[in-house]
């Protein structure tokens, strides 16, 4: 906060949590959907357990499936995967690079308003499946 010349008393770091997981759209279908969801870490865990606390950012498409090219190497598939992720995360990145966002909190009891500078940063990316695709880890050989 010192680097950003912000008063720590009036600034709040807002960690962003992303959730990414593919799911089959039907028992007899080979098609899948991979939604990218986000929430804020400043929300209590009980709130984050509510689906309404999560925002759907978009869906990760498999480029090779769109183009009908299934002969891509794992490296090429990874690059495509990250290309789509980049597009989906652009708004989040713009929010992070745009600097502090002023947010007014209202105490419902007293009606008093508190202006705070919110600094958004990415905190973690959760995936039910292995996170190999995100960090580029090769599952084979980890043992």
């Amino acid at each position: 906060m010192r680097k950003l010349n912000l008063d720590p008393e009036e600034s709040i770091v807002v960690p962003i949590i992303l959730f990414l997981d593919a799911t089959q759209i039907g028992g007899l279908s080979s098609h899948s959907l991979e939604p990218l969801m986000m929430t804020l870490r400043i929300l209590k865990r009980t709130l984050r357990n509510d689906p309404r606390a999560w925002k759907n950012v978009g869906y990760v498409e498999e480029v090779s499936r769109i183009l009908g090219n299934s002969k891509l190497t794992p490296e090429e598939k990874l690059e495509d995967y990250h290309f789509i992720l980049k597009l989906l995360m652009q708004d989040i990145k713009d929010l992070i690079t745009s600097g502090p966002v002023e947010w007014v909190f209202i105490d419902r009891g007293t009606g008093k308003k508190y202006r705070r500078n919110m600094i958004f940063r990415l905190m973690m990316i959760i995936q039910k499946e292995p996170t190999d695709g995100l960090v580029g880890m090769d599952l084979i050989g980890t043992q």
Binding site: E79, H82, K86, R121, K128, E129, V135, G136, D138, T142
Partner: protein, 135 residues
């Protein structure tokens, strides 16, 4: 971290920085089971993860497959295996058909049971056949 260190609380983990990964060649990455991602979605902007130099490497919490199924569970069997003598293994292999049949394991699981031994891998393809042989 290698699975064999999964039960070592004093094991020192070398957490990779994003810059380390960027400066490594594809073959160097392959040595640590990593792949090269040229346009990593999490590389830019520099403050995406705040002041953390580790970036995506420490932003992905452990998931059940690596941490439990390929980690602690495998280590559990390795530890069990390392502490059994040949006599123990002989007794265990004789008892397995009875253990499996008496614990109500599903027929699908009964059809194949792999017991990994440090000296040899023993594949019992059909538990019911093994059960008949021991009766």
């Amino acid at each position: 971290m290698k699975t064999r260190f999964a039960d070592d609380p004093d094991h020192h983990c070398n957490i990779l920085h994003f810059d380390d990964i960027d400066n490594m060649s594809a073959s160097q990455l392959a040595n640590i089971s990593m792949r090269k991602i040229v346009n990593n979605a999490f590389r830019e902007p520099a403050n995406l993860f705040g002041a953390s130099p580790y970036g995506i490497c420490t932003a992905t919490p452990p998931e059940p497959l690596h941490a439990v199924l390929l980690g602690i569970m495998v280590r559990l069997f390795q530890f069990f295996d390392a502490n059994l003598t040949e006599k123990h293994w002989k007794i265990l292999l004789e008892e397995i058909p009875f253990i499996v049949s008496s614990t109500g394991i599903s027929p699908a699981c009964q059809s194949i049971l792999i017991v990994e031994n440090s000296k040899q891998a023993i594949l019992v393809k059909d538990i019911s056949l093994a059960k008949r042989n021991t009766q």
